[in-house]
Amino acid sequence: MTARDLLPIAVFAAVAALLPVFVTSGTWLNFAVFTLIVTLAAQGWNILGGYGGQYSFGHAAFFGTAAYATALLQVRFGVNPYLAFALGVMAAGLVGWIIGLLSFRSGLRGSYFALVTLAFAEVFRVLANASAFTGGAAGILIPLDVRPGNFQFASRAIFYWVALALVVAALLITRTLERARLGAHLVAVRENEDAARALGVDALAVKLSAIALSAAITGAAGALYAQYFLYLDSNIAYGTWISVEALLGPIVGGAGTAFGPVIGGILLHSLGELARKLLGSVPGLDLALFGVLLILVVRFPPRDIPGLLRRRARR
């Protein structure tokens, strides 16, 4: 990686890290933390969907697995929260790898792959809702015990920095991937799988690595969600909301670019807040306005989003 690769990430990290110093409002910090969590989930989606061209509609499967693993390891087995976090991320990666193995070996792509991931997430949701181990429908509550050693912080600012650090780490991973052989192979598979194979790329292995990495990053978002809100149930962890959030950001901000999910995530959540400010008093109207804005953003992509421009130029 060159300095040119790192500079935008460093600038973003520095600017974003300084924000809590100037903006101390809890409303804003909470909004920012939630946006960062969703952005992290979207960064995970972007590895598989953006670079690999495999559109998943079921990233909730990974988000939820890590979230549940983190919570259950702490609550049921008394595992240290930081360790539980790491194990949760690994569990998500493993689930990603297994789902990938099953579907890629069957040759699923495009809409078929999208639908199978959606179905896997739903199966997990139904199971988590029915199983006593996961707390069933009552969900699972991580006991409130605010200590830094316990991965719970009194100040929202610290959580903000933790979430930001993970987002920046995901940016670095994405950038590294772009420059690595795996990334090149992944893009080759996206553009033309048969051609890539003919050139000696092991398409299955490439896609499996991508889905495991993708799932692990989205899993980190899920584990962070659990640690931040301290409560989970099957609809939160495995609900379609997070699958949709994970793909909205990158597609709007520029799929297959490192900053795409970040730009898209921030843009969408800001639009959502804006709609809410404008029309919040009548239930539903602000979300309808958000829908209109979403279509307008797709119709008239903001020219200043560098990712989109670069992608265009490449084509």
Binding site: G26, F34, L144, R156, Y231
Partner: protein
């Protein structure tokens, strides 16, 4: 028929009325007190959220038009409304906003997951949080000092449900023995079903089957079929509105008529929309649920006010009305719009708090739970919803077993 749905303009007018009512009548120049009202008015729980908000609005309007908070020089209450969007993170975000707007307390939440997340967010700022409905016992047992629940929790509701069922059956000469439990597979229903299976046998019932269904459910025919083949004396359903209405209609259509339908925390059995739209399917259905005290004149007055707006009379409205009154009472006793003082005052609430309209004894908080809170048994009789149990609050006699 105009009862069925009313145009959205009404929602706008209602909102406007809430805003306009705030200034106006105040005698003194006392600074208004901001009160956070948190309800899910979009998403899956929007119907409940709307009716909760209505109750809070009615209470705030009443307080403001009767001289405001007297201990604060007649200060008006100003509502800061937040839409929890039917999700825990939506609730958290709104509590953060309410905090930054300087509310003195937050009332509402409706669903347990929202209440769990929102009360915790409020705890960061020592902001008093009054749960309206959320029944999960964990809400008050995890030791948050700011969290209060005026209404009964899950354990209390279900205990009452079991005890009252046994009493009801014994008084009628034990007509019912076999039971089928039908429940939605979420927090309410599943916990309910487990408890029924554990506790009913010792009270002289045999649970022949427990059937779960998802929300939303597309079809109740299979459940009706199983019930028909099992032919139980009693059906105990625990479901949300749409699913129970489907079930009751399907049972009626397939001519399945047990000796009774005994609901617990059911979304429809204590809902006038169901009674009005499907009077035959609703007739004589019993429920154990939150319900307003029918003997208080205020209850009838409030119900008229709600129905005058073409709205149905649901339990969310009186509960939220009462919870807002509880905050007003605490403000009067605290003498200042200060969070810590209000929390202190809430803790010390006692029988002198009489402005609520719930069928509870003298209020007493223990670890944030109102120990006097209780659920009551209701039954649909003559197109009305009557309280049949406990007898102190009842306005009708139970009809059980159902006439053949």
């Amino acid at each position: 028929m105009s009862q069925v749905f009313s145009p959205s303009r009404r929602a706008l007018l209602l909102g406007a009325a809430g805003i306009l009512a705030a200034p106006g009548l105040s005698r003194a120049q006392a600074a208004p007190v901001k009160l956070g009202i948190l309800q899910p008015v979009t998403g899956a729980l929007a119907q409940d959220g709307e009716y909760g908000r209505l109750g809070a609005e009615l209470a705030i309007n009443e307080i403001n038009s009767t001289g405001g908070i007297k201990a604060l020089g007649g200060a008006q209450i100003q509502m800061v409304f937040g839409d929890a969007r039917s999700t825990p993170e939506g609730g958290t975000a709104e509590v953060e906003r309410m905090n930054s707007e300087g509310v003195v307390a937050v009332v509402g939440g409706f669903a347990s997951p929202i209440c769990l997340a929102a009360s915790q967010a409020a705890a960061r700022y020592d902001l008093p949080y009054i749960v309206d409905v959320g029944v999960a016992d964990a809400i008050v047992t995890r030791g948050l000092r700011n969290t209060f629940r005026f209404s009964p929790g899950f354990g209390s509701v279900t205990r009452a449900a079991l005890d009252n069922l046994a009493t009801l059956n014994n008084n009628a000469g034990r007509p019912a023995r076999t039971v089928v439990v039908v429940h939605e597979d979420g927090l309410f229903g599943s916990g309910m079903a487990q408890l029924m299976q554990r506790e009913l046998p010792s009270r002289g019932f045999e649970v022949v089957e427990t059937i779960s269904h998802p929300t939303p459910a597309r079809d109740m025919s299979n459940i009706a079929l199983r019930i028909r083949s099992l032919n139980p004396d009693l059906i105990i359903p625990s479901s949300y509105y749409a699913e129970f209405v489907l079930l009751a209609r399907t049972l009626q259509q397939r001519r399945i008529r047990p000796k009774g339908i005994y609901c617990v925390l059911n979304g429809a059995a204590s809902n006038f929309r169901f009674v009005r739209e499907f009077p035959d399917a609703a007739n004589l259905v019993m429920d154990v649920n939150h319900w307003a005290d029918p003997r208080k004149p205020k209850t009838a007055e409030l119900r008229r006010a709600v129905e005058a707006q073409n709205r149905f009379w649901l339990y969310n409205t009186p509960i939220n009305y009462s919870a807002v009154m509880l905050v007003a009472d605490a403000l009067e006793r605290a003498g200042k719009a200060d969070r810590t003082a209000v929390t202190e005052a809430l803790t010390k609430t006692d029988g002198s708090f009489t402005r609520h309209i719930m069928p509870y004894g003298p209020t007493r908080f223990e670890n944030g739970q109102n120990m006097a809170a209780q659920a009551v048994n209701t039954q649909v009789q003559n197109n009305d919803i009557k309280v049949i149990f406990p007898t102190d609050f009842a306005d009708a006699q139970p009809v059980f077993p159902w006439p053949a």
